[in-house]
């Protein structure tokens, strides 16, 4: 299977292979590992589950043995401790898994160092192999082995004639595919070992997907028994899976340590079953922690955090692993707190062994808060005033001033227009203009977030007169509206669930079509060119496309509302969305604000609040969410809190403990100026505005309603395409065209040398060279020149033929500098 030609590569691989082999040997459950050099001392032991019940021949139970060291820190000894069964006729240990042998009661004796603990074991109905249920027992195996993944038989059209539904979302058709199709050779009750399922799965017959199944494994045994039982579909009314539980849910680990995960399925009748060996595992940060198919997590060398997603039959849960930086300073330096945000960030940083950067200086702070809050550079005058202000409360005062500026409404209307698809191409000029105007008014009036969203979601009327209905014109189908509303306001991504169960979340097709039901019946009537009447014609039933089955209209995880039939069903949805105990609405708003100012959401990506992407600081997100609700959805107040926090005002310069931290806000995250903000900044610094066709003179890019105005600059620097309701449409990715444009574009050069521009005015004023250099630095960088800028300027002024050309060269260098292009 491996084709490694180069000898260097072969050598690397040998190392890797041998490492993998070592891992897999211990995975197979050898009694104990070689003790690590720094073996942690065990003070006490605890075990999960506290009683082991095995009901039936195929039931097994993974153990989770946790020790505490003398300092009280918990760590995993599942594969290190010594486990014996008191009565070896009744049960045996296979690695750290208990397997029954005969009915009866006994106990496990678990020893680790000097500590001992005993756990009762009950084996029942050992003689009977419980009837296999296709959907509950067989599908999970197919999922775990990857048979029904999108790249294999789950692919549309299947693979080599054998088609399964992707991730097993349609058990009925999978049953037919295995039992009825393929001329009955795929499964074979009389001789399961010669069925194609087992022959190909184990690689005994050539199989494009290779060897997936190990003969005589638990999975093999179950498939074998299922065939022996005559491939039953299973009993009716068996308990259905309702949730899975993961233990431990979070754990602080050392580098290069291991942790067993215990996955337990919970059924509708309250019964539980160990599914550790049947669940699928993945890590969202493989450099921090890896997880193998038996649920064993291994941390690497690097400190950080990883979420381990556990998936069993569409039910998902996550375990959080945290690896603190070793050798954290002791005592840990105390960060002063401006408000509760600082306390909560500090607590996390201390836990991680990371020291925050210092408070940033006044000039950097001012430039940062202007650009982040109103998308506008401070002028030289504003910078001078702030730097010479001696009021100790001056930062607080700037926060208040900026939140009241007109540009605030421009900038936040732009941000929302990107998410809410205010796109002239789909809405026409009138529609886009009205929609944008409405959004800007909501911002300018400080309308509470829940109120304007409610109005938007329930909007009906004429698109040429009433802005918010245009939202639905960009989303012509009920399915589009369901997806957009879920993602933009709830952070629920239902896209996957339209066709199959979401692979990393709890959502299935019923959740998707349940949501679609609120928009089913949305209609549009043409009122002439580019104008439409948008309205809801009343509730109607929604059916699953494949089976035609009627799905109840309900919000995700919610109940079907009572009054669907009276009036517009979107009102019921809006009631549910904006109710104070909605788990997503305020949380997404809080996460968005935090991500905007701090450069990364507490949950990332910012608009994907799935349970398997846990926040890096849950107490902080909970606090901010609570603030959104407590302020009656006045997002400005929450912004004020964030902007006044010390965390927002930290320097972007890292220290030795935090330079690689990107998750815990130990220093400010450097951001490139967004396209519109950058273009405005170039105009402001050169004092030459851009002219846009059809717009009044002096219109700024952040105030444009039309996202399709031809602008090479905005296209090149990644203005949002407004094609999808996520923040991913806008791009800050660098390209070569951006660098070339900034350096060579005639349009930018024309601004620098413009006879009515800043340079010309400064030269005309005959001010001393020193002042001229200072004025340019204050305008472009928001700070007086440092030694570096003075040296560079001196060289340029010495080399150039005229004062004017030297000043132009200096400004050119400033406009291309990272200090200008980035918010620090």
């Amino acid at each position: 299977m491996l084709r490694w030609a180069a000898s260097t590569r072969a050598a690397v691989l040998t190392v890797m292979l041998s490492m993998v082999l070592i891992t897999s040997v211990t995975d197979a459950g050898e009694p104990a590992e070689k003790p690590p050099v720094n073996r942690r001392v065990v003070r006490s032991l605890s075990v999960l589950p506290t009683t082991i019940q095995l009901g039936g021949a195929n039931r097994i139970q993974q153990l989770l043995v946790t020790a505490r060291d003398p300092s009280g820190q918990a760590f995993d000894v599942t594969h290190r401790c010594d486990v014996t069964v008191a009565n070896t006729d009744l049960a045996l240990m296979r690695g750290a898994t208990v397997v029954g042998l005969a009915d009866g009661r006994t106990e496990l004796i678990i020893r680790c160092d000097a500590a001992t603990i005993r756990v009762p074991v009950i084996v029942e109905q050992y003689e009977t192999f419980p009837p296999v249920h296709f959907a509950n027992d067989v599908i999970p195996i197919l999922s775990k082995l990857g048979c029904n993944s999108g790249g294999c038989h789950g692919k549309q059209g299947g693979k080599n004639g054998f088609h399964l539904s992707v991730f097993g979302f349609d058990p009925k058709s999978d049953y037919a595919a295995l039992v009825k199709e393929g001329r009955g050779r795929r499964t074979f009750a009389a001789d399961p070992d010669s069925s194609l399922l087992l022959l190909k799965g184990t690689g005994r017959r050539p199989h494009g997907g290779g060897r997936r199944l190990v003969a005589d494994s638990t999975d093999y045994e179950l498939l074998h028994n299922w065939m022996q039982q005559g491939m039953p579909w299973g009993q009716q009314n068996v308990p259905t899976l309702t949730a899975i539980r993961v233990d431990p849910t979070d754990r602080v680990m050392l580098p290069n340590a291991k942790q067993q995960i215990l996955a337990t399925a919970i059924y509708s009748d309250g019964s539980q079953r160990d599914v550790t060996h049947a669940a699928a595992y993945s890590s969202n940060a493989t450099t921090v922690a890896e997880v193998d198919e038996s649920g064993r997590v291994a941390t690497g060398r690097l400190p950080g955090e990883a979420a381990i997603t556990v998936n069993y039959m569409g039910q998902v849960a996550a375990a959080l692993v945290l690896v603190p930086r070793p050798n954290a300073p002791n005592p840990y330096p105390n960060m002063p707190a401006n408000n509760r945000i600082d306390t909560l960030v500090s607590a996390k940083l201390q836990k991680m062994g990371i020291v925050p950067s210092a408070l940033t200086d006044d000039a950097t702070f001012l430039r940062r808060i202007y650009l982040d809050t109103i998308g506008t550079l401070p002028t030289a005058k504003e910078v001078r005033k702030f730097l010479t202000d001696n009021n100790p409360e001056k930062r607080k005062r700037v926060v208040d001033q900026l939140l009241d500026r007109d540009e605030f409404a421009d900038y936040w209307a732009l941000r929302w227009a990107d998410v809410l698809l205010v796109n002239r191409e789909t809405l026409g000029e009138r529609g886009a203009l009205e929609f944008h105007r409405w959004l800007r008014k909501q911002m300018a009036d400080d309308r509470p977030y829940d109120q304007w969203v409610r109005e938007l979601v329930t909007a009906s009327g004429s698109s040429g007169r009433y802005g918010p209905v245009n939202f639905y014109r960009a989303l012509p189908k009920a399915e589009d509206a369901a997806k957009a509303v879920s993602q933009a306001f709830l952070g629920i991504r239902l896209d996957c669930a339209q066709c199959h169960h979401h692979p990393f979340d709890q959502w299935g097709q019923r959740d998707f079509y349940g949501m679609v039901g609120f928009f089913n019946g949305m209609q549009r009537k043409s009122l002439g060119k580019d104008r439409e009447l948008v309205f809801h014609s009343g509730y109607r039933e929604t059916k699953l496309p494949l089976s035609g089955e009627v799905v109840p209209t309900r919000p995700p995880q919610g109940e079907q509302p009572q009054n669907l039939n009276s009036g517009d069903p979107r009102v019921q949805l809006a009631n549910w969305m904006t109710s104070r105990d909605n788990p997503w609405f305020a949380r997404l708003a809080a996460n968005r604000l935090w991500a905007h100012f701090l450069g990364r959401g507490l949950i990332d990506p910012v608009d994907d609040l799935r349970s398997t992407s846990p926040p890096t600081n849950e107490p902080l997100l909970a606090f901010l969410t609570q603030k959104v609700i407590a302020t009656e959805y006045d997002l400005k107040q929450v912004m004020r809190l964030i902007l006044n926090s010390r965390v927002y005002q930290l320097s972007s310069e890292p220290n030795a403990t935090n330079f690689d931290d990107e998750q815990n806000y130990s220093h400010y995250t450097v951001k490139r100026l967004p396209a519109e903000v950058l273009l405005d900044a170039v105009c402001q610094v050169t004092d030459v505005p851009e002219t846009y066709p059809g717009m009044p003179r002096g219109t700024r890019a952040i105030a444009l309603w039309d996202n399709r105005l031809p602008s090479y600059f905005l296209d090149t620097f990644g203005r949002s395409e407004r094609q999808s309701p996520c923040e991913c449409g806008k791009s800050n990715e660098p390209t070569m065209a951006q660098a070339l444009h900034l350096m060579n574009a005639p349009e930018i050069e024309a601004k620098i040398v413009n006879p009515r521009g800043r340079i010309a005015a400064l030269i005309d004023s005959n001010m001393p060279r020193k002042q001229l250099i200072e004025a340019l630095c204050l305008s472009a960088l928001g700070r007086p020149p440092g030694e570096k800028e003075r040296k560079i300027a001196a060289r340029l002024f010495a080399g150039e033929t005229s004062e004017q050309q030297a000043a132009e060269d200096f400004l050119w260098a400033l406009l291309n500098s990272y200090d200008f292009l980035f918010i620090h």
């Binding site: 590569r9 690497g300 450097v670 094609q723 060579n744």
Partner: protein, 438 residues
Amino acid sequence: MLPGSCDGVDRRNFLRVGSIAGLSLAEAMRFEHLCAAESKRNDINCIFLFVLGGMPQQDMWDLKPDAPAEIRGDFRPIDTAVPGIQVSDVLPKISRVTDKFSILRSMTHGDSDHGRGFHIMMTGRKAGAGDFNTGPKNNNQHPSVGSMVARLGETGALPPYISVPNYLNSGGPSFLGPSYGPFVIEADPAAPEFAVRDIALPVGVTGDRSQRRRAALREINRFERRVEEVSRQERAFDVFYKKAYNLMTSAAAKRAFDISRESDKVRDEYGMTSAGQCCLLARRLVEAGCRFVSIENGHWDTHRKNTYSLRELLCPSFDQAVPALLNDLEQRGLLEKTLVVVTTEFGRTPRINELKGRDHWPNAFSILMAGAGLKVGQTVGATDKQAGFVTDRPITPADMAATILRTLGIDHTKIMHTPLGRPVRLVDGGNPVTELFA
């Protein structure tokens, strides 16, 4: 868990493997690079000429002289350099170089809409339902083949993927990200004042002055911290500034864009037309190391006056440019290292409509492939009596994409991850056209 070969491994897998084996991130990345260097060593570039609007198969490449008049149209088949292969009498110059390309007569897909047709022919993937956007750069669903090459191929001083003269519909990078989008020339090289945007210094800035400016900028942008302590964002931008510097300061790279350095004789050989000069510029760009040049050649949407449009407006420049390109590449020894693809979003209806035009027809149409050591001087596939449906060896857009990627040394089955984490194969369900590989 372990990769089957370098080709099938993406960064995600490497990190996984790396941390299991106890390799550091840096080691894993070095290993990745090692792998990349080996599997991607391939100096074949691609010129991808897109005939915009729909190229009529039965009037150019797949004539049906025995069909009724309203189907066979006004063009007659003529003999060509390869005995047994005939093309239209509207392509006299091309008829003399049929030994340099293969005609794929059995291209087929089901999308008769321009926007969706662009998408499937630029990316190899059908535009899915739902959020497919019909905007101008509308491949929000899958990366264009050019972007795949930019992302996965080796690159030099020139941008790896250049579009001339315009941004082709569906020519974008989709989920690969803007860094892998095309560098768009946005000017017609046939125009007398042709210049490539932002490559040359602005008027008024002399070479000396530019050097002083750049020295100042280097100084101002010099990182004063250890590089790993510089923010990821600034480091990423720095990479592209360096690339831009390289382009501006590499005389050879900059020369590649300067079509005026070609003699009048050569320029006339290609024809002083958009098609001709775009082909010539494309040759200069691949010669200088660009991996993928896409050319837009419009506007072939002949719903009316099909015969007149082809004979008088569209075919003459095309018929001159394509043979000139093939001959020129061959004489310079570049044809072996250059894949030339002449493609379109779909063909045109067998029956001529009442406006004497032909409408959209995605069920059967022809494209050309040449160079790069492919087997040439042949036709692949066949259609029925009306050039309406494929009767032999259907070739899909995915097959075309797989053929291009394979020729450029890129594994077309490679899986990339979208920002949502969804694994997506570069080319799904397509196979290289074996008849082209000798």
